[in-house]
Amino acid sequence: MEKIKVVHYINQFFANIGGEEKADIEPEVREGIVGPGLALQSGLGDDYEVVATVICGDTYFGGHIEDAKKTILDMIRPYKPDLFVAGPAFNAGRYGVACGTIAKAVEDELNIPVVTGMYPENPGVDMFKKDLHIIQTAISAADMRKAMPKICKLAKKMINKEEILSPVEEGYIERGIRVNYFNERRGSERAVDLILKKIAGEPYETEYPMPVFDRVAPNPAIKDLSKIKLAVVTSGGIVPQGNPDRIESSSATKYGIYDITGMDSLTKDKFMTVHGGYDRAFVLENPNLVVPLDILREIEKEGIIGELANYFVTTTGTGTSVGNAKGFGEEFSKKLVEDGVGAVILTST
């Protein structure tokens, strides 16, 4: 019998190439098993064969998402896999985002089952949990021994087209997909229990959690603004004319970084808005209404701020999932910090 073919994706660290200093290596593919592929192969058993392993540096992937995705898909295709496993990434943020991105691309393009694994706080979780089955792991690679068997078990169920049970039963992170089932008791009876628990101050669990948002502690005040580099970030959908990166007018899946070197103002011949959630007429006429470059240049000249970053960061706020937005933020914040930006004005429409 022909074996079920599996391709595995891992980063430079798990391929034993190196840590952060090797994180910029470009994608490569190797025949057979590498690193944690051993645990994957043994977990899947003799009916399966890990035919290839794709390796990519996390920094490279993060900086070249579109290119990396395309290259890696091209590397995977010739193996005609039946199953794709990425990671697990544990709590490694960029690795998690890479695993999620590539797993989703494989699922969409090659139409085969995909599984990955992450720690619940990995940013890749919020970005991809609705699209993928992500096995919940512990924070570090020490959990590999426990995580891999769960990945294998779920992957086999997918291959055998068995019913995927609830997150608790299978060990994946809840995807936020609402699925019907018959409870043992009717709703009104459960509601009476719930109210009595709530009144008694006992722990109770809602059957449908309302959307919740994270809180962060405020940063301390800036002492001397005149030494600070300031940047503008916006969710108002301001892009260069022609929208070169094709940022969506709603439900954005990407953000853009656009140069403003030497400009005194955002002029309507060079910039526009693609935001689909408001009447664009005013902003099309004057993009400074959203990215106040005209004022910020004045302030820069007056020496009130040290300098203005030579770009602004932009996306469309409307309909964009919290997971995606969070992912964008985690990514471009790193760039802002690397570029020495000390303060940000975020404008929303």
Binding site: R178, R186, G187, S188, A191, I195, K198, Y208, P209
Partner: protein
């Protein structure tokens, strides 16, 4: 207020010379029912058909479902303010033909209503696959205006149910359940150590085909008020709503409100059921503001520790649900919400059209957007002509062999948002 509800168990329904109950079998006189319905000159024809559990029967499109009941003693008559004179009900003795219903069906407008399957895999989604149903198929006179037709259909069902209910008047019930709620101060004194629980019952009241009546008054023109729970069991509230099949609160469900039933089950044991606050779901935002203010005020006034809130419908009512939840919580009263969900066909979107952080304890009555397959049935009561235009149906829903593919929301009371069913949704 104290009501004895005598439950006469009905295990079968048959046509007979005389409408009567004998050994758990309901016999109905077809001609008398037709005559009763045709008293209304807005209706040109009426047909009576029977549907029993397990039969290969599909009923569509359904307007309302009503349990036949009759007042044996005590003030007022069944369905006060609509069928009978306005007079307070909810005390004395009432008999119910449990396991029997009257179902009105036929075309009201082109797009609403829903279906009931008496057997097969889709039967489990509606409680009416387990009841013995007297189906009244009505047809209006040509060109009858929509408002008039809705009213005629509504009255026809109530009239027939009242007529059939009379058959239970002198029958010894299989079981008598006593429900009692005292005036508020006495009620609190009766169980001083138990948490005081209320029920906020939101009535659909948006307009044509979206209305509910309380003692005959249109719920959209009333302000929130207090009601003894037993009043509802005598038909103080009736449904004039026939738009969203899955979460429609039929008149049957008003008579058999599960929240009231389950609160009474634990009344005096681990809670003290103080009563029901009735409110509405109006379109005008100023009305929502006023109604939710008054609901919160009533909760405070009654000194409640906790409330259960149910809604009828999706979208507009979600706003009332959340406003009630927020304002009642702000009075220091604990809240549990009961509702159904519409998270889209992939189940990935937000289930409700509104949300507040106070809504932290919610019971789910299921996802109405899920696609269900309905196998063909041997007999159709009513017509399948409108399946594709019914809510939950779509172009291509009805297959040539009579099978149907449609969203769960096409099934009557399948995700009813008062917790009557066991269906629920959970996160996957």
């Amino acid at each position: 207020m104290r009501l004895e509800l005598g439950k006469i168990k009905i295990n079968d329904v048959q046509f007979g010379e005389m409408t009567r109950v004998e050994k758990g079998i309901l016999y109905v006189n077809k001609e008398e029912i037709v005559k009763l319905v045709l008293e209304d000159d807005r209706i040109i024809s009426a047909r009576v058909e029977l549907a029993r559990p397990g039969e290969s029967v599909r009923i569509a499109p359904v307007k309302d479902v009503i349990e036949p009941r009759v007042k044996v003693s005590g003030s007022g008559q069944i369905f006060p303010g609509t069928i009978n004179k306005v007079k307070e009900v909810g005390s004395g003795r009432t008999h119910a033909l449990v396991g029997a219903t009257v179902i009105t069906c036929g075309r009201i407008v082109g797009f609403q209503e829903g279906l009931i399957d008496m057997s097969g895999p889709s039967a489990k989604y509606t409680p009416f696959s387990e009841t013995n149903n007297v189906c009244v198929v009505i047809e209006p006179v040509e060109g009858l205006e929509t408002h008039d037709y809705e009213a005629a259909g509504r009255m026809a069902g109530l009239k027939v149910a009242t007529y059939i209910g009379e058959a239970g008047k002198n029958i010894e019930p299989d079981e008598v359940v006593v429900y009692e709620t005292k005036p508020v101060q006495e009620q609190i004194r009766q169980y001083p150590d138990l948490p005081k629980i209320g029920y906020i019952h939101m009535l659909q009241s948006q307009g044509l085909l979206h209305d509910t009546y309380y003692y005959g008054v249109d719920a959209k023109v009333m302000v929130p008020t207090f009601m003894y729970p037993t009043e509802i069991m005598d038909g103080a509230i009736i449904s004039g709503n026939c738009v969203a099949p899955c979460d429609k609160v039929t008149t049957f469900h008003h008579l058999n409100n599960p929240v009231i039933e389950d609160l009474y089950k634990r009344h005096g044991k681990d809670l003290n059921f103080i009563g029901v606050i009735l409110t509405n779901e109006n379109v005008f935002l100023a009305d929502k503001e006023r109604s939710s203010d008054m609901v919160a005020k009533l909760c405070e006034f009654l000194g409640l520790d906790g409330v259960l809130i149910t809604e009828e419908g999706y979208g507009n009512p979600d706003t009332d649900l959340m406003m009630n939840c927020k304002k009642v919580s702000q009075k220091g009263v604990k809240v549990v919400l009961i509702t159904d969900e519409f998270p889209g066909r992939d189940g990935k979107s937000q289930s409700l059209a509104d949300a507040v952080e106070e809504g932290d304890a919610l019971v789910s009555c299921g996802n109405g957007n899920v696609i269900i397959d309905f196998p063909p049935m041997e007999k159709v009561i009513g017509t399948l002509d409108f399946i594709e235009t019914m809510i939950g149906g779509y172009e291509g829903s009805l297959k040539p062999d009579g099978s149907i593919e449609a969203e769960l929301q096409i099934v009557i009371a399948s995700t009813i948002a008062n917790g009557y069913n066991k269906l629920a949704a959970r996160g996957y």
